[in-house]
Protein backbone atom coordinates (compact mmCIF):
# COMPACT_ATOMS: atom_id res chain seq x y z
CA UNK A 1 0.00 0.00 0.00
CA UNK A 2 2.77 2.39 0.97
CA UNK A 3 4.80 1.73 -2.13
CA UNK A 4 1.70 2.15 -4.26
CA UNK A 5 0.95 5.50 -2.64
CA UNK A 6 4.56 6.61 -3.13
CA UNK A 7 4.55 5.54 -6.74
CA UNK A 8 1.38 7.49 -7.38
CA UNK A 9 2.69 10.59 -5.71
CA UNK A 10 5.89 10.51 -7.72
CA UNK A 11 3.99 9.86 -10.90
CA UNK A 12 5.66 6.51 -11.55
CA UNK A 13 3.33 3.92 -13.02
CA UNK A 14 2.58 1.08 -10.65
CA UNK A 15 2.24 -2.44 -11.85
CA UNK A 16 -1.51 -2.80 -11.57
CA UNK A 17 -2.07 0.68 -12.83
CA UNK A 18 0.05 -0.03 -15.86
CA UNK A 19 -1.54 -3.34 -16.71
CA UNK A 20 -5.00 -1.88 -16.47
CA UNK A 21 -3.99 0.90 -18.79
CA UNK A 22 -2.64 -1.43 -21.42
CA UNK A 23 -5.71 -3.67 -21.44
CA UNK A 24 -8.37 -0.94 -21.51
CA UNK A 25 -7.94 0.07 -25.17
CA UNK A 26 -8.30 -3.55 -26.28
CA UNK A 27 -11.48 -3.84 -24.25
CA UNK A 28 -12.81 -0.62 -25.81
CA UNK A 29 -11.92 -1.76 -29.31
CA UNK A 30 -13.10 -5.36 -29.01
CA UNK A 31 -16.68 -4.89 -30.15
CA UNK A 32 -16.02 -2.52 -33.09
CA UNK A 33 -13.10 -4.63 -34.34
CA UNK A 34 -15.20 -7.80 -34.11
CA UNK A 35 -17.88 -6.00 -36.11
CA UNK A 36 -15.39 -5.01 -38.83
CA UNK A 37 -14.02 -8.55 -38.95
CA UNK A 38 -17.43 -10.16 -39.43
CA UNK A 39 -19.17 -7.54 -41.57
CA UNK A 40 -16.31 -6.09 -43.64
CA UNK A 41 -13.36 -8.46 -43.89
CA UNK A 42 -15.15 -11.80 -43.81
CA UNK A 43 -17.51 -10.68 -46.63
CA UNK A 44 -14.51 -9.41 -48.58
CA UNK A 45 -12.88 -12.85 -48.40
CA UNK A 46 -16.15 -14.70 -48.94
CA UNK A 47 -16.86 -12.61 -52.04
CA UNK A 48 -13.44 -13.46 -53.47
CA UNK A 49 -14.04 -17.17 -52.90
CA UNK A 50 -17.53 -17.01 -54.40
CA UNK A 51 -16.16 -15.31 -57.50
CA UNK A 52 -14.47 -18.61 -58.42
CA UNK A 53 -17.70 -20.60 -58.21
CA UNK A 54 -20.80 -20.86 -60.36
CA UNK A 55 -24.32 -22.31 -60.26
CA UNK A 56 -27.46 -21.08 -58.48
CA UNK A 57 -25.94 -21.93 -55.08
CA UNK A 58 -22.45 -20.87 -56.17
CA UNK A 59 -21.07 -24.30 -55.26
CA UNK A 60 -19.46 -25.54 -58.49
CA UNK A 61 -15.83 -24.55 -58.87
CA UNK A 62 -15.41 -22.54 -62.05
CA UNK A 63 -11.81 -21.33 -61.96
CA UNK A 64 -11.41 -17.87 -63.42
CA UNK A 65 -14.32 -18.33 -65.84
CA UNK A 66 -16.44 -15.66 -64.11
CA UNK A 67 -13.64 -13.16 -64.72
CA UNK A 68 -13.05 -14.12 -68.34
CA UNK A 69 -16.81 -13.96 -68.86
CA UNK A 70 -16.87 -10.43 -67.44
CA UNK A 71 -14.21 -9.26 -69.90
CA UNK A 72 -16.03 -10.89 -72.82
CA UNK A 73 -19.47 -9.61 -71.75
CA UNK A 74 -20.39 -6.75 -74.10
CA UNK A 75 -23.17 -5.62 -71.76
CA UNK A 76 -20.77 -5.28 -68.86
CA UNK A 77 -18.19 -3.46 -70.96
CA UNK A 78 -20.91 -1.08 -72.07
CA UNK A 79 -22.01 -0.59 -68.45
CA UNK A 80 -18.45 0.10 -67.41
CA UNK A 81 -18.06 2.80 -70.09
CA UNK A 82 -21.43 4.41 -69.28
CA UNK A 83 -20.55 4.40 -65.57
CA UNK A 84 -17.32 6.25 -66.27
CA UNK A 85 -19.14 8.75 -68.47
CA UNK A 86 -21.61 9.29 -65.66
CA UNK A 87 -18.83 9.64 -63.07
CA UNK A 88 -16.78 12.01 -65.23
CA UNK A 89 -19.77 14.20 -66.10
CA UNK A 90 -20.93 14.38 -62.51
CA UNK A 91 -17.41 15.17 -61.32
CA UNK A 92 -16.68 17.93 -63.81
CA UNK A 93 -19.97 19.74 -63.27
CA UNK A 94 -20.04 19.42 -59.48
CA UNK A 95 -16.46 20.69 -59.23
CA UNK A 96 -16.96 23.61 -61.61
CA UNK A 97 -20.28 24.69 -60.15
CA UNK A 98 -19.18 23.95 -56.58
CA UNK A 99 -15.99 25.96 -56.95
CA UNK A 100 -17.73 28.97 -58.47
CA UNK A 101 -20.55 28.89 -55.90
CA UNK A 102 -18.06 28.59 -53.04
CA UNK A 103 -16.05 31.56 -54.36
CA UNK A 104 -19.26 33.57 -54.63
CA UNK A 105 -20.51 32.58 -51.18
CA UNK A 106 -17.08 33.35 -49.72
CA UNK A 107 -17.49 36.92 -50.92
CA UNK A 108 -19.52 39.22 -48.73
CA UNK A 109 -22.88 38.25 -50.20
CA UNK A 110 -25.86 39.07 -48.04
CA UNK A 111 -27.58 35.86 -46.98
CA UNK A 112 -24.64 33.55 -47.68
CA UNK A 113 -25.54 31.34 -44.74
CA UNK A 114 -29.11 30.93 -46.00
CA UNK A 115 -27.95 30.13 -49.55
CA UNK A 116 -25.51 27.57 -48.17
CA UNK A 117 -28.32 25.96 -46.21
CA UNK A 118 -30.64 25.84 -49.22
CA UNK A 119 -27.95 24.26 -51.40
CA UNK A 120 -27.45 21.45 -48.88
CA UNK A 121 -31.11 20.37 -48.74
CA UNK A 122 -31.05 17.99 -51.75
CA UNK A 123 -27.93 16.30 -50.38
CA UNK A 124 -29.87 15.34 -47.26
CA UNK A 125 -32.97 14.30 -49.20
CA UNK A 126 -33.60 10.62 -49.84
CA UNK A 127 -32.52 9.46 -53.29
CA UNK A 128 -35.97 7.82 -53.55
CA UNK A 129 -37.56 11.28 -53.38
CA UNK A 130 -35.00 12.83 -55.73
CA UNK A 131 -35.32 10.07 -58.31
CA UNK A 132 -39.12 9.93 -58.39
CA UNK A 133 -39.48 13.72 -58.32
CA UNK A 134 -37.25 14.20 -61.36
CA UNK A 135 -38.85 11.29 -63.18
CA UNK A 136 -42.14 13.10 -62.77
CA UNK A 137 -40.82 16.53 -63.71
CA UNK A 138 -39.10 15.16 -66.84
CA UNK A 139 -41.98 12.93 -67.92
CA UNK A 140 -43.08 13.70 -71.51
CA UNK A 141 -46.80 13.39 -70.68
CA UNK A 142 -47.32 14.51 -67.09
CA UNK A 143 -44.05 16.38 -66.53
CA UNK A 144 -44.11 20.05 -65.71
CA UNK A 145 -40.78 20.92 -67.36
CA UNK A 146 -41.95 20.55 -70.96
CA UNK A 147 -45.11 22.44 -70.05
CA UNK A 148 -43.00 25.35 -68.80
CA UNK A 149 -40.84 25.22 -71.94
CA UNK A 150 -43.95 25.44 -74.11
CA UNK A 151 -45.16 28.40 -72.11
CA UNK A 152 -41.79 30.08 -72.66
CA UNK A 153 -41.86 29.24 -76.41
CA UNK A 154 -38.82 26.99 -76.07
CA UNK A 155 -38.45 23.59 -77.75
CA UNK A 156 -39.51 20.61 -75.63
CA UNK A 157 -37.70 17.32 -75.38
CA UNK A 158 -38.28 13.83 -74.08
CA UNK A 159 -35.23 14.34 -71.88
CA UNK A 160 -34.75 10.77 -70.77
CA UNK A 161 -34.81 9.54 -74.36
CA UNK A 162 -32.74 12.15 -76.13
CA UNK A 163 -29.93 12.60 -73.59
CA UNK A 164 -30.35 9.96 -70.89
CA UNK A 165 -26.81 10.02 -69.46
CA UNK A 166 -26.69 13.81 -69.40
CA UNK A 167 -30.07 13.83 -67.64
CA UNK A 168 -29.01 11.53 -64.81
CA UNK A 169 -25.74 13.49 -64.55
CA UNK A 170 -27.87 16.60 -64.09
CA UNK A 171 -29.93 14.95 -61.34
CA UNK A 172 -26.79 13.72 -59.56
CA UNK A 173 -25.19 17.18 -59.75
CA UNK A 174 -28.44 18.76 -58.55
CA UNK A 175 -28.35 16.53 -55.50
CA UNK A 176 -24.71 16.82 -54.49
CA UNK A 177 -23.44 20.21 -55.60
CA UNK A 178 -24.28 21.74 -52.19
CA UNK A 179 -21.97 19.23 -50.51
CA UNK A 180 -19.16 19.99 -52.96
CA UNK A 181 -19.68 23.71 -52.43
CA UNK A 182 -19.47 23.27 -48.67
CA UNK A 183 -16.18 21.36 -48.93
CA UNK A 184 -14.69 24.06 -51.18
CA UNK A 185 -15.96 26.76 -48.84
CA UNK A 186 -14.27 25.04 -45.89
CA UNK A 187 -11.09 24.76 -47.96
CA UNK A 188 -11.17 28.44 -48.87
CA UNK A 189 -11.68 29.48 -45.27
CA UNK A 190 -8.64 27.44 -44.31
CA UNK A 191 -6.33 29.53 -46.51
CA UNK A 192 -4.36 31.93 -44.26
CA UNK A 193 -5.31 35.59 -44.62
CA UNK A 194 -1.62 36.55 -44.80
CA UNK A 195 -1.32 35.00 -48.28
CA UNK A 196 -3.97 37.37 -49.60
CA UNK A 197 -2.41 40.34 -47.85
CA UNK A 198 0.98 39.49 -49.32
CA UNK A 199 -0.55 39.15 -52.79
CA UNK A 200 -2.29 42.49 -52.33
CA UNK A 201 0.93 44.21 -51.27
CA UNK A 202 2.52 42.84 -54.44
CA UNK A 203 -0.29 44.48 -56.41
CA UNK A 204 -2.16 41.34 -57.45
CA UNK A 205 -5.64 41.98 -58.85
CA UNK A 206 -8.65 40.07 -57.44
CA UNK A 207 -8.53 37.72 -60.44
CA UNK A 208 -4.82 37.09 -59.96
CA UNK A 209 -5.43 36.42 -56.29
CA UNK A 210 -8.10 33.89 -57.24
CA UNK A 211 -5.96 32.10 -59.84
CA UNK A 212 -2.62 32.32 -58.04
CA UNK A 213 -3.61 31.99 -54.37
CA UNK A 214 -7.05 30.46 -53.97
CA UNK A 215 -6.95 27.80 -56.68
CA UNK A 216 -3.48 26.35 -56.04
CA UNK A 217 -4.05 26.25 -52.29
CA UNK A 218 -7.36 24.47 -52.84
CA UNK A 219 -5.59 21.61 -54.63
CA UNK A 220 -5.88 19.18 -51.68
CA UNK A 221 -9.62 19.91 -51.43
CA UNK A 222 -10.07 19.45 -55.16
CA UNK A 223 -8.21 16.14 -55.03
CA UNK A 224 -10.33 14.96 -52.11
CA UNK A 225 -13.59 16.04 -53.75
CA UNK A 226 -12.58 14.38 -57.03
CA UNK A 227 -11.66 11.02 -55.60
CA UNK A 228 -14.57 10.82 -53.14
CA UNK A 229 -16.92 11.99 -55.90
CA UNK A 230 -15.71 9.52 -58.53
CA UNK A 231 -15.75 6.61 -56.07
CA UNK A 232 -19.32 7.36 -55.05
CA UNK A 233 -20.46 7.88 -58.66
CA UNK A 234 -18.97 4.52 -59.64
CA UNK A 235 -21.33 2.99 -57.06
CA UNK A 236 -24.47 4.76 -58.27
CA UNK A 237 -27.44 2.44 -58.25
CA UNK A 238 -30.59 4.32 -57.32
CA UNK A 239 -30.75 6.82 -60.20
CA UNK A 240 -31.00 4.22 -62.99
CA UNK A 241 -33.20 2.04 -60.77
CA UNK A 242 -35.66 4.85 -60.03
CA UNK A 243 -35.51 7.19 -62.99
CA UNK A 244 -34.66 5.31 -66.17
CA UNK A 245 -34.73 1.60 -65.32
CA UNK A 246 -31.37 1.49 -67.10
CA UNK A 247 -32.86 2.68 -70.37
CA UNK A 248 -33.71 3.63 -72.94
CA UNK A 249 -32.27 0.31 -74.11
CA UNK A 250 -29.28 0.00 -71.83
CA UNK A 251 -28.12 3.60 -72.19
CA UNK A 252 -28.06 4.25 -68.43
CA UNK A 253 -27.51 0.76 -67.04
CA UNK A 254 -24.76 1.74 -64.61
CA UNK A 255 -22.41 -0.92 -63.27
CA UNK A 256 -23.96 -1.49 -59.84
CA UNK A 257 -27.47 -1.36 -61.33
CA UNK A 258 -26.51 -4.27 -63.57
CA UNK A 259 -24.67 -5.98 -60.73
CA UNK A 260 -27.88 -5.85 -58.67
CA UNK A 261 -29.73 -7.52 -61.52
CA UNK A 262 -27.10 -10.25 -61.95
CA UNK A 263 -27.17 -10.98 -58.20
CA UNK A 264 -30.79 -10.57 -57.20
CA UNK A 265 -32.78 -11.05 -60.40
CA UNK A 266 -30.70 -13.79 -62.05
CA UNK A 267 -29.30 -15.12 -58.73
CA UNK A 268 -25.90 -15.58 -60.36
CA UNK A 269 -23.89 -14.91 -57.18
CA UNK A 270 -20.62 -16.26 -58.58
CA UNK A 271 -20.62 -13.94 -61.57
CA UNK A 272 -21.91 -11.02 -59.48
CA UNK A 273 -19.05 -11.55 -57.01
CA UNK A 274 -16.48 -11.47 -59.80
CA UNK A 275 -18.06 -8.26 -61.16
CA UNK A 276 -17.93 -6.68 -57.68
CA UNK A 277 -14.25 -7.51 -57.36
CA UNK A 278 -13.39 -6.00 -60.71
CA UNK A 279 -15.02 -2.70 -59.74
CA UNK A 280 -13.41 -2.88 -56.29
CA UNK A 281 -9.99 -3.12 -57.95
CA UNK A 282 -10.73 -0.01 -60.02
CA UNK A 283 -11.80 1.86 -56.88
CA UNK A 284 -8.70 0.73 -54.96
CA UNK A 285 -6.47 1.95 -57.77
CA UNK A 286 -8.18 5.35 -57.63
CA UNK A 287 -7.74 5.47 -53.84
CA UNK A 288 -4.07 4.58 -54.20
CA UNK A 289 -3.58 7.40 -56.70
CA UNK A 290 -5.20 9.81 -54.26
CA UNK A 291 -2.92 8.69 -51.42
CA UNK A 292 0.10 9.00 -53.67
CA UNK A 293 -0.65 12.49 -54.93
CA UNK A 294 -1.70 13.58 -51.44
CA UNK A 295 1.59 12.34 -49.97
CA UNK A 296 3.68 13.96 -52.67
CA UNK A 297 2.01 17.31 -52.04
CA UNK A 298 2.63 17.05 -48.32
CA UNK A 299 6.25 16.06 -48.88
CA UNK A 300 7.10 19.29 -50.65
Amino acid sequence: MTSLATARRTGLPTRGHNRRRTLAPYAFLAAPMAFFAVLFFYPLVQELITSFYTGPRADQFAGVSNFTRAFADANMRHSFVVTFEFAAGTLVFSILIGLVLAAMLNARLKGSVIFRGILLVPYLTSIAIVGLLWRNILDPQVGVLNRLLVAAHLPTQTWLNTSPVATIVFIAVWQQVGYTTLLFLAGMQGIPESYYEAAKVDGASPWQRFWRVTLPLLAPTTLFVSVIGVISSLQEFALPYLVTNGGPGDATSLYVFRLYDVAFTFRDFGYASALSYLMLIVILILSAIQLRIGRRDHGE
Binding site: P32, P43, A58, N106, S126, R147, W174
Partner: protein, 287 residues
Protein backbone atom coordinates in the same frame (compact mmCIF):
# COMPACT_ATOMS: atom_id res chain seq x y z
CA UNK B 1 -13.83 26.44 -36.55
CA UNK B 2 -13.53 29.22 -34.02
CA UNK B 3 -15.11 31.55 -36.53
CA UNK B 4 -18.45 29.93 -36.66
CA UNK B 5 -20.10 33.29 -36.25
CA UNK B 6 -21.12 34.10 -39.84
CA UNK B 7 -20.47 37.80 -39.40
CA UNK B 8 -16.87 37.15 -38.42
CA UNK B 9 -16.31 34.68 -41.20
CA UNK B 10 -17.78 36.88 -43.87
CA UNK B 11 -15.66 39.82 -42.78
CA UNK B 12 -12.61 37.58 -43.01
CA UNK B 13 -13.66 36.67 -46.51
CA UNK B 14 -13.85 40.26 -47.60
CA UNK B 15 -10.30 40.42 -48.91
CA UNK B 16 -10.71 37.43 -51.14
CA UNK B 17 -13.93 38.48 -52.78
CA UNK B 18 -15.18 36.60 -55.76
CA UNK B 19 -13.00 38.11 -58.44
CA UNK B 20 -15.90 38.86 -60.78
CA UNK B 21 -18.73 41.32 -60.51
CA UNK B 22 -20.68 41.05 -57.26
CA UNK B 23 -24.02 41.58 -58.99
CA UNK B 24 -23.31 38.65 -61.31
CA UNK B 25 -22.34 36.53 -58.31
CA UNK B 26 -25.58 37.41 -56.58
CA UNK B 27 -27.74 36.60 -59.58
CA UNK B 28 -25.93 33.30 -60.16
CA UNK B 29 -26.26 32.18 -56.54
CA UNK B 30 -29.94 33.09 -56.42
CA UNK B 31 -30.50 31.25 -59.70
CA UNK B 32 -28.83 28.06 -58.48
CA UNK B 33 -30.79 28.24 -55.22
CA UNK B 34 -34.01 28.61 -57.24
CA UNK B 35 -33.16 25.52 -59.31
CA UNK B 36 -32.49 23.73 -56.01
CA UNK B 37 -35.67 24.77 -54.23
CA UNK B 38 -38.31 24.95 -56.96
CA UNK B 39 -38.47 21.19 -57.67
CA UNK B 40 -38.98 20.55 -53.96
CA UNK B 41 -41.74 23.18 -53.81
CA UNK B 42 -43.28 21.58 -56.88
CA UNK B 43 -43.26 18.27 -55.00
CA UNK B 44 -45.36 19.92 -52.27
CA UNK B 45 -47.66 21.43 -54.89
CA UNK B 46 -48.05 18.06 -56.61
CA UNK B 47 -48.96 16.39 -53.32
CA UNK B 48 -51.89 18.81 -52.97
CA UNK B 49 -53.28 18.51 -56.51
CA UNK B 50 -56.57 16.84 -57.31
CA UNK B 51 -56.78 13.68 -59.42
CA UNK B 52 -58.35 15.75 -62.22
CA UNK B 53 -55.35 18.05 -62.22
CA UNK B 54 -52.75 15.29 -62.40
CA UNK B 55 -54.62 13.27 -65.01
CA UNK B 56 -55.48 16.19 -67.28
CA UNK B 57 -52.21 15.73 -69.18
CA UNK B 58 -51.77 19.41 -68.67
CA UNK B 59 -49.60 19.75 -65.57
CA UNK B 60 -50.31 22.74 -63.35
CA UNK B 61 -47.82 24.59 -61.20
CA UNK B 62 -50.16 25.05 -58.26
CA UNK B 63 -53.49 23.36 -57.47
CA UNK B 64 -56.72 25.36 -57.79
CA UNK B 65 -57.72 23.96 -54.43
CA UNK B 66 -55.35 22.39 -51.90
CA UNK B 67 -56.27 18.71 -51.55
CA UNK B 68 -55.09 17.89 -48.05
CA UNK B 69 -57.26 14.78 -48.30
CA UNK B 70 -54.48 13.27 -50.44
CA UNK B 71 -52.50 12.69 -47.26
CA UNK B 72 -55.35 10.83 -45.59
CA UNK B 73 -55.83 8.82 -48.75
CA UNK B 74 -52.12 7.96 -48.78
CA UNK B 75 -52.25 6.46 -45.28
CA UNK B 76 -55.45 4.58 -46.11
CA UNK B 77 -54.33 3.02 -49.35
CA UNK B 78 -50.79 1.97 -48.48
CA UNK B 79 -49.21 0.83 -45.19
CA UNK B 80 -47.34 4.12 -44.90
CA UNK B 81 -47.43 4.16 -41.10
CA UNK B 82 -45.68 0.81 -41.05
CA UNK B 83 -43.07 1.94 -43.60
CA UNK B 84 -42.32 5.02 -41.50
CA UNK B 85 -42.12 2.96 -38.32
CA UNK B 86 -39.66 0.57 -39.98
CA UNK B 87 -37.52 3.46 -41.20
CA UNK B 88 -37.57 4.98 -37.73
CA UNK B 89 -36.62 1.69 -36.04
CA UNK B 90 -33.80 1.05 -38.50
CA UNK B 91 -32.34 4.57 -38.31
CA UNK B 92 -32.69 4.81 -34.51
CA UNK B 93 -31.11 1.43 -33.70
CA UNK B 94 -28.18 2.12 -36.01
CA UNK B 95 -27.71 5.61 -34.53
CA UNK B 96 -27.79 4.20 -30.99
CA UNK B 97 -25.18 1.59 -31.89
CA UNK B 98 -22.89 4.25 -33.37
CA UNK B 99 -23.25 6.36 -30.24
CA UNK B 100 -22.07 3.38 -28.16
CA UNK B 101 -19.22 2.00 -30.28
CA UNK B 102 -17.74 4.97 -32.14
CA UNK B 103 -16.72 7.11 -29.12
CA UNK B 104 -15.29 4.03 -27.36
CA UNK B 105 -13.06 3.17 -30.30
CA UNK B 106 -12.27 6.84 -30.96
CA UNK B 107 -11.18 7.27 -27.32
CA UNK B 108 -8.95 4.18 -27.48
CA UNK B 109 -7.19 5.51 -30.58
CA UNK B 110 -6.96 9.09 -29.28
CA UNK B 111 -5.69 8.64 -25.74
CA UNK B 112 -3.91 5.29 -25.38
CA UNK B 113 -0.59 3.85 -26.47
CA UNK B 114 -0.75 0.10 -27.01
CA UNK B 115 0.67 -2.68 -29.12
CA UNK B 116 -0.85 -2.95 -32.62
CA UNK B 117 -2.46 0.51 -32.30
CA UNK B 118 -1.19 1.56 -35.71
CA UNK B 119 -2.19 -1.72 -37.33
CA UNK B 120 -5.67 -1.63 -35.84
CA UNK B 121 -6.14 1.98 -36.90
CA UNK B 122 -5.08 1.16 -40.45
CA UNK B 123 -7.54 -1.75 -40.43
CA UNK B 124 -10.33 0.64 -39.42
CA UNK B 125 -9.37 3.13 -42.13
CA UNK B 126 -9.12 0.32 -44.70
CA UNK B 127 -12.84 -0.34 -44.26
CA UNK B 128 -13.43 3.06 -45.90
CA UNK B 129 -12.20 1.52 -49.13
CA UNK B 130 -14.69 -1.34 -49.04
CA UNK B 131 -17.72 -0.04 -50.96
CA UNK B 132 -21.11 -1.28 -49.90
CA UNK B 133 -21.80 -3.17 -53.12
CA UNK B 134 -18.83 -5.43 -52.34
CA UNK B 135 -20.24 -6.42 -48.94
CA UNK B 136 -23.82 -6.64 -50.17
CA UNK B 137 -23.85 -10.14 -51.73
CA UNK B 138 -21.85 -12.04 -49.06
CA UNK B 139 -23.82 -10.40 -46.25
CA UNK B 140 -27.07 -11.25 -48.04
CA UNK B 141 -25.97 -14.89 -48.33
CA UNK B 142 -24.80 -14.96 -44.69
CA UNK B 143 -28.08 -13.43 -43.45
CA UNK B 144 -30.11 -15.87 -45.57
CA UNK B 145 -28.37 -18.74 -43.80
CA UNK B 146 -29.07 -17.12 -40.43
CA UNK B 147 -32.70 -16.54 -41.35
CA UNK B 148 -32.19 -12.79 -41.00
CA UNK B 149 -33.62 -11.67 -44.32
CA UNK B 150 -36.76 -9.57 -44.03
CA UNK B 151 -36.04 -8.74 -40.36
CA UNK B 152 -34.93 -5.76 -38.28
CA UNK B 153 -31.59 -7.37 -37.42
CA UNK B 154 -31.07 -7.88 -41.15
CA UNK B 155 -31.71 -4.18 -41.77
CA UNK B 156 -29.55 -2.93 -38.91
CA UNK B 157 -26.53 -5.21 -38.38
CA UNK B 158 -24.43 -4.29 -41.47
CA UNK B 159 -24.24 -0.65 -40.26
CA UNK B 160 -23.56 -0.91 -36.50
CA UNK B 161 -20.35 1.11 -36.68
CA UNK B 162 -18.07 2.61 -39.30
CA UNK B 163 -14.67 4.20 -39.79
CA UNK B 164 -16.22 7.61 -40.42
CA UNK B 165 -17.77 7.72 -36.93
CA UNK B 166 -14.67 6.37 -35.18
CA UNK B 167 -12.47 8.85 -37.02
CA UNK B 168 -14.79 11.75 -36.16
CA UNK B 169 -14.70 10.83 -32.47
CA UNK B 170 -10.92 10.32 -32.46
CA UNK B 171 -10.40 13.75 -34.02
CA UNK B 172 -12.65 15.31 -31.42
CA UNK B 173 -11.21 13.53 -28.35
CA UNK B 174 -7.51 13.88 -29.24
CA UNK B 175 -7.21 17.61 -28.36
CA UNK B 176 -9.00 17.19 -25.00
CA UNK B 177 -6.51 17.75 -22.14
CA UNK B 178 -4.94 14.66 -20.55
CA UNK B 179 -4.87 16.19 -17.08
CA UNK B 180 -8.42 15.11 -16.27
CA UNK B 181 -7.72 11.53 -17.33
CA UNK B 182 -4.53 11.49 -15.23
CA UNK B 183 -6.38 12.96 -12.27
CA UNK B 184 -9.01 10.23 -12.59
CA UNK B 185 -6.29 7.58 -12.60
CA UNK B 186 -4.59 9.08 -9.54
CA UNK B 187 -7.92 8.95 -7.77
CA UNK B 188 -8.13 5.28 -8.59
CA UNK B 189 -11.08 5.48 -10.96
CA UNK B 190 -11.50 2.51 -13.30
CA UNK B 191 -10.77 3.09 -16.99
CA UNK B 192 -14.45 2.59 -17.74
CA UNK B 193 -15.39 5.26 -15.19
CA UNK B 194 -12.85 7.67 -16.60
CA UNK B 195 -14.38 7.16 -20.02
CA UNK B 196 -17.97 7.30 -18.83
CA UNK B 197 -17.73 10.25 -16.41
CA UNK B 198 -14.84 12.33 -17.74
CA UNK B 199 -14.49 11.78 -21.49
CA UNK B 200 -18.02 11.07 -22.71
CA UNK B 201 -19.67 14.19 -21.20
CA UNK B 202 -17.15 16.36 -23.04
CA UNK B 203 -17.93 14.89 -26.43
CA UNK B 204 -21.56 15.98 -26.60
CA UNK B 205 -21.11 18.27 -29.61
CA UNK B 206 -19.38 15.53 -31.62
CA UNK B 207 -21.97 12.96 -30.57
CA UNK B 208 -24.70 15.29 -31.83
CA UNK B 209 -23.00 15.54 -35.24
CA UNK B 210 -22.50 11.77 -35.33
CA UNK B 211 -26.12 11.07 -34.40
CA UNK B 212 -27.48 13.52 -36.97
CA UNK B 213 -25.43 12.14 -39.82
CA UNK B 214 -26.09 8.54 -38.97
CA UNK B 215 -29.81 9.06 -38.56
CA UNK B 216 -30.29 11.07 -41.75
CA UNK B 217 -28.24 8.70 -43.91
CA UNK B 218 -29.94 5.59 -42.58
CA UNK B 219 -33.37 7.20 -42.82
CA UNK B 220 -32.58 7.70 -46.50
CA UNK B 221 -30.78 4.37 -47.06
CA UNK B 222 -32.03 2.76 -50.25
CA UNK B 223 -30.03 -0.16 -51.64
CA UNK B 224 -29.74 -2.42 -48.58
CA UNK B 225 -33.42 -2.22 -47.44
CA UNK B 226 -34.36 -2.97 -51.05
CA UNK B 227 -32.17 -6.08 -51.03
CA UNK B 228 -32.83 -7.48 -47.57
CA UNK B 229 -36.57 -6.88 -47.12
CA UNK B 230 -39.22 -8.64 -49.17
CA UNK B 231 -42.54 -8.47 -47.32
CA UNK B 232 -44.65 -5.33 -47.25
CA UNK B 233 -44.57 -5.19 -43.46
CA UNK B 234 -40.76 -4.94 -43.40
CA UNK B 235 -40.29 -2.32 -46.14
CA UNK B 236 -38.86 1.05 -45.16
CA UNK B 237 -40.34 4.32 -46.38
CA UNK B 238 -37.89 4.99 -49.28
CA UNK B 239 -38.66 1.53 -50.69
CA UNK B 240 -42.38 1.91 -49.94
CA UNK B 241 -42.33 5.13 -51.94
CA UNK B 242 -41.12 3.34 -55.07
CA UNK B 243 -43.76 0.65 -54.53
CA UNK B 244 -46.51 3.26 -54.74
CA UNK B 245 -45.71 3.64 -58.39
CA UNK B 246 -45.67 -0.07 -59.05
CA UNK B 247 -48.18 -1.72 -56.70
CA UNK B 248 -50.53 0.64 -54.98
CA UNK B 249 -51.40 3.40 -57.38
CA UNK B 250 -49.94 5.31 -60.27
CA UNK B 251 -51.07 8.61 -58.91
CA UNK B 252 -48.29 11.11 -58.79
CA UNK B 253 -50.09 13.30 -56.24
CA UNK B 254 -50.02 10.44 -53.73
CA UNK B 255 -46.40 9.58 -54.56
CA UNK B 256 -45.57 13.23 -53.96
CA UNK B 257 -47.49 13.19 -50.68
CA UNK B 258 -45.46 10.14 -49.63
CA UNK B 259 -42.27 11.99 -50.60
CA UNK B 260 -43.26 14.95 -48.46
CA UNK B 261 -43.94 12.64 -45.52
CA UNK B 262 -40.50 11.05 -45.94
CA UNK B 263 -38.87 14.45 -46.44
CA UNK B 264 -40.34 16.30 -43.45
CA UNK B 265 -38.34 14.60 -40.64
CA UNK B 266 -34.99 15.24 -42.34
CA UNK B 267 -35.99 18.77 -43.28
CA UNK B 268 -36.95 19.54 -39.67
CA UNK B 269 -33.77 17.96 -38.31
CA UNK B 270 -31.73 19.96 -40.79
CA UNK B 271 -33.52 23.19 -40.02
CA UNK B 272 -32.83 22.96 -36.29
CA UNK B 273 -29.29 21.59 -36.50
CA UNK B 274 -27.93 23.15 -39.66
CA UNK B 275 -24.89 24.58 -37.90
CA UNK B 276 -23.81 21.20 -36.53
CA UNK B 277 -24.29 19.46 -39.86
CA UNK B 278 -22.33 22.07 -41.77
CA UNK B 279 -19.53 21.91 -39.23
CA UNK B 280 -19.54 18.13 -39.32
CA UNK B 281 -19.20 17.98 -43.10
CA UNK B 282 -16.43 20.57 -43.10
CA UNK B 283 -14.59 18.80 -40.27
CA UNK B 284 -14.70 15.20 -41.42
CA UNK B 285 -14.67 15.97 -45.11
CA UNK B 286 -11.27 17.51 -44.98
CA UNK B 287 -9.27 16.03 -42.12
Amino acid sequence: MANDNPAVRLRRGSDRLFPGDRAIAYVAVVLVCAVTVLPLLYMISLSLQSNAEIFAGNPVLWPAQLQFANYASLFERAPVARFLLNSFIMASLITLSHLIFDPLAGYAFAKFEFRFKRTLFIIVLATLMVPFFVRMIPIYVMFSQLGWTDSYQGLVVPFLSDAFGIFLMRQFIEPLPNTLIDAGRVDGASEWRIYRSIILPQTRAALAVLALFTFVFQWNNFLWPLVITSSTKMRTMPIGLTLFNQEYFTQWNLTAAGSVVLFVPTALLFFFTQRYLVRGIALTGLK
